[in-house]
Symmetry: C2
Subunit: 336 residues, 2 copies
């Protein structure tokens, strides 16, 4: 199986490391291209030496002396290279409405290639059309790592809820917000709480994306589009972030045996899918409140069986890379 990888941050490098080490079921998998947005690309139809991607310190930009180094941009690579699976690992852009990743995914599907994406953008902004396109072209579009990293969520619904209709989802899906809310409840000021979340390795240098609820809104849009036949974008999600919560409000919650969580909800109301993200004051005994500061949790309601929840404990980067691997194994198994 020949992979074309777009993006080479932590997840891409971990993926390369796993492939270099050898993944049973993915034997004979070659990475024929790795393209970054601003740091160049490597192309080798015979398979790039994975050590040059995965080795500690081998972060792009790669040396111009690298035998596979090229000026090829991502768009040209997706349109012209010979590959079996596009692996899209670049960063979500809300302001660019999921582009350019969405266009790369569309182009690959149009060319009859499978796609695995850990980037929420394509599914969050164009989920319905892309899924229809994949179906029409007889290829897979898989995105396990877009929600709760690699914890099985999409594969669970796909394989474990056959014949069911998902009617509602409710959850807590952003660790940075959880960590900041927890610090506020303990009496920290907003700025200090954010800094602590950054030091803990959760919050990005610019954490507004998480704290304003965009990350959660994008995840909700992916699920609504994938499971409820919706055609939502993150801009359609009713959204409030956590920045407006004061330390006074946060501390008061604890005194009243309650806790703030950034709660995501989507459901079908009178045939229309509605989705919201908002800070919510939960009683301690609420199933969502049991979730630790950095944990994520998702409750799924269906028309087939009792609701159930899946909770991820202390997620890490390895989880995201694993989700991509699971998607690749799903494709590889079906090709056998």
């Amino acid at each position: 199986m020949r992979l074309l990888i777009l993006g080479c941050g932590n997840v891409g490098r971990r993926l390369a490391l796993a492939l270099a080490t050898g993944v049973p079921g993915l034997g004979g998998t070659d990475v024929v291209g790795v393209c970054t947005r601003r740091h160049g690309a490597l192309i080798n139809p015979g398979g790039i030496d994975l050590a040059s991607i995965a080795a500690p310190g081998a972060v792009p930009p790669w040396s111009p002396g690298h035998p596979d180094s090229t000026e090829l941009d991502s768009a040209t690579a997706v349109s012209t290279l010979d590959f079996d699976v596009l692996v899209e690992l670049s960063i979500l852009s809300i302001s660019a409405r999921g582009e350019p990743a969405a266009s790369y995914v569309r182009r690959a599907l149009e060319r009859g290639r499978h796609v695995v994406t850990a980037n929420k953008g394509p599914l969050a902004f164009h989920g319905r059309r892309l899924l229809e396109l994949a179906h029409a072209n007889g290829v897979r579009l898989l995105f396990e790592s877009t929600v709760m990293d690699g914890t099985p969520v999409f594969s669970l619904v796909r394989e474990g809820l056959r014949g069911c209709r998902v009617t509602s989802v409710e959850g807590i899906l952003n660790s940075t917000s959880g960590l900041v809310l927890d610090a506020l409840e303990r009496g920290a000021a907003m700025e200090a709480a954010i800094r602590a979340a950054q030091q803990a390795g959760f919050a990005e240098a610019d954490p507004t994306h998480d704290l304003e609820g965009w990350d959660s809104a994008a995840k909700l849009a992916v699920m609504a589009n994938a499971w409820m036949g919706a055609d939502l974008s993150p801009l359609d999600v009713s959204r409030r972030g956590i920045l407006e919560i004061s330390v006074q409000e946060a501390q008061g919650a604890r005194d009243r045996n309650r806790t703030w969580k950034l709660v995501c909800r989507a459901g079908i109301e009178s045939g229309v899918v509605r989705a919201s993200v908002k800070p919510t004051l939960l009683p301690r005994e609420d199933p969502l409140a049991a979730c630790g500061p950095t944990d994520c949790i998702l409750t799924i309601g269906t028309d087939c069986l009792s609701p159930f929840a899946i909770r991820q404990f202390e997620p890490g980067l390895a989880d995201t890379a694993y989700g991509v691997l699971n998607d690749l194994l799903t494709i590889a198994d079906a090709r056998e």
Copy 2:
């Protein structure tokens, strides 16, 4: 697809009702036989009229005047009838070590037929050999409903944890015990607590099977055999039930902000799979303690990603029937 169903209790009747109503993806599915242990059988190679199984009040024994009524026993049916999938829905027998169900499952697999079982016995007592037999004969042996009813557990591990090794499971898997422990904590005597669980429709007429931990031990054995390559039986599980807990102990827990749960654990220690069921006094903040009296929860640890838990809220009989349907859909989809 032609089904031979063994057992016709609540789950079998609900399954028949679903098939009679029509399940997308299972069109063209016929039930060619329904055999009960003591209440006769119906056989019709052209497909039994499902209304005669599913109609309210149509519980076996069926009228001898039923056009499909026969004296054929289960063993002969499994060995001689022409069917594609054996659906084993009879009751677990610990004293008979999973028999006769295990032999029926073995015989069907030997004949190259797929098997779906909601009965824990075959997998709990002979999981490893039966799974090897299914593999050797190129057929599926599926058992989603054996743990947490139809909540996706086995399909989750099968499809969502490709390439992972399950290294530990921990959970609360028996609603009757949960309900009784909750009543004890509230001050009820053991007998009254059991009666209340029976009235709530959870406990069986003879609830010792649940209260002595056999149901939990069987579920642990199924998971250990399916996921950890173990060759355990419920008799190998270190087991204590809840009958020895006194009201004093139970009430005392609540005063100390703790709660009793019948906790199941299995894990690999020095290469050996060990499993235990025992009443455990948990701090309220323990993830397992958050589970309501009738809820089930299962935490899964792997070598690939952070541990995660799946929690089922207020399970019902419909869930068990759905798990069987999901297994049948899995087989039907692969036959296409």
